[in-house]
């Protein structure tokens, strides 16, 4: 049995940008993932308001969607973002961490379709939602086997 928390720790450690933003993987498995990112002064997008930049929200959304793909029961060996759309509903409250939750709603042989929601501490109102498609990479051997 794989130690989930150890796996989560390793996932973040293996992604330098996720580490740089202080991301923490809090849930993973069965094509779903949740990642939290703490508030920090260096990710502020507007000094006048102290609101974090949309780019940092993109990074946590993208990481979380990728983690969800990797955790899918079809066990992809790798994934890359094909496209990702983010809708920004409201500004994240300054000082609060942002948590993204992603779900794979369809995983095919080559492509995974993922949706995600980001919230701050007020979990009832989303800060942003995301929808994207990701590549599903499998070991070269398994790919040729399926094509036969």
């Amino acid at each position: 049995m794989v130690d989930r928390s150890k796996m989560a720790q390793q996932f973040i450690q293996a992604v330098p940008h996720a580490k740089a933003l202080g991301m923490e993987l809090i849930e993973i498995g069965n094509g779903e993932a949740a990642i939290t990112m703490p508030y920090a002064d260096h990710i502020v997008g507007d000094l006048k308001t102290g609101v974090i930049h949309g780019g940092a929200v993109s990074a946590v959304m993208d990481t979380c969607c990728g983690a969800a793909v990797m955790s899918h029961p079809s066990t992809p060996t790798g994934t890359a973002t094909i496209d990702l759309r983010i809708d920004y509903m409201r500004a994240a409250t300054p000082g609060q961490s942002v948590t993204a939750r992603a779900t794979c709603y369809h995983v095919g042989r080559s492509v995974a379709f993922v949706r995600a929601t980001a919230t701050d501490e007020d979990t009832g109102k989303p800060v942003a939602t995301a929808s994207g498609s990701f590549t599903v990479e499998t070991k070269p051997g398994s790919l040729t086997e399926r094509r036969k």
Binding site: H17, A18, H42, V44, G54, A56, S58, T81, D83, R85
Partner: protein
């Protein structure tokens, strides 16, 4: 009498000052290591490579979030400057009289869609944004990022932005 070239030179200096002031208001831009090259009204975003921008250390490749953020930053700054220049030219804003810390607010992102064409490699990246339409309230901006070869972009994006409200008019009522 002042030489004909002097006012133009002043315009350039004010543009640089306005750009620097805009960038200073965004700590995230410094964290990401994004700089801008300006030639007249043409703006190129430069993402200085750093290990912390890596998403996949095995390739290695830039993080998708980094690529998207770089395009979003380039879109916002390009849009802000265009908006600012327009208002300077109509005389709505006088940069000489306006303290730089009172520059208009930045546009807010409504939505942003990034297409990843190929993986971003562990090196500097460049981006340019084109404002397809900038209305009073909404703007539509397209952007492209490349590395070695501008003809082979590694990502492109399209975003919609909410423009900052025009400065309040003092009313007597």
């Amino acid at each position: 009498m002042m030489g004909k070239s002097e006012p133009k030179q002043l315009v350039e200096q004010r543009r640089d000052a306005a750009l620097a002031a805009l960038l200073q208001g965004v700590p995230y831009i410094q964290f990401m290591g994004i700089e801008f090259d300006r030639h007249g009204d043409e703006l190129t975003g430069v993402l200085r490579f750093d290990d912390k921008l890596i998403g996949n250390p095995f390739l290695p490749a830039l993080h998708g979030g980094v690529t998207s953020a770089f395009l979003e930053v380039t879109s916002i700054i390009t849009l802000s400057l265009l908006h600012l220049w327009g208002r300077i030219e109509t005389g709505e804003i006088d940069l000489e009289k306006m303290p730089l810390e009172q520059l208009p607010n930045l546009p807010k992102t409504i939505d942003f869609t990034a297409d990843y064409l190929r993986s971003g490699r562990a090196q500097n990246a460049y981006a340019r944004a084109t404002v397809a339409r900038a209305g009073r309230r909404y703007a539509s901006v397209q952007s492209t990022a490349w590395q070695d070869n501008q003809a082979k972009p590694f990502a492109q994006a399209s975003g919609h932005f909410l423009m900052p409200p025009a400065p309040e008019v003092v009313r007597d009522d």
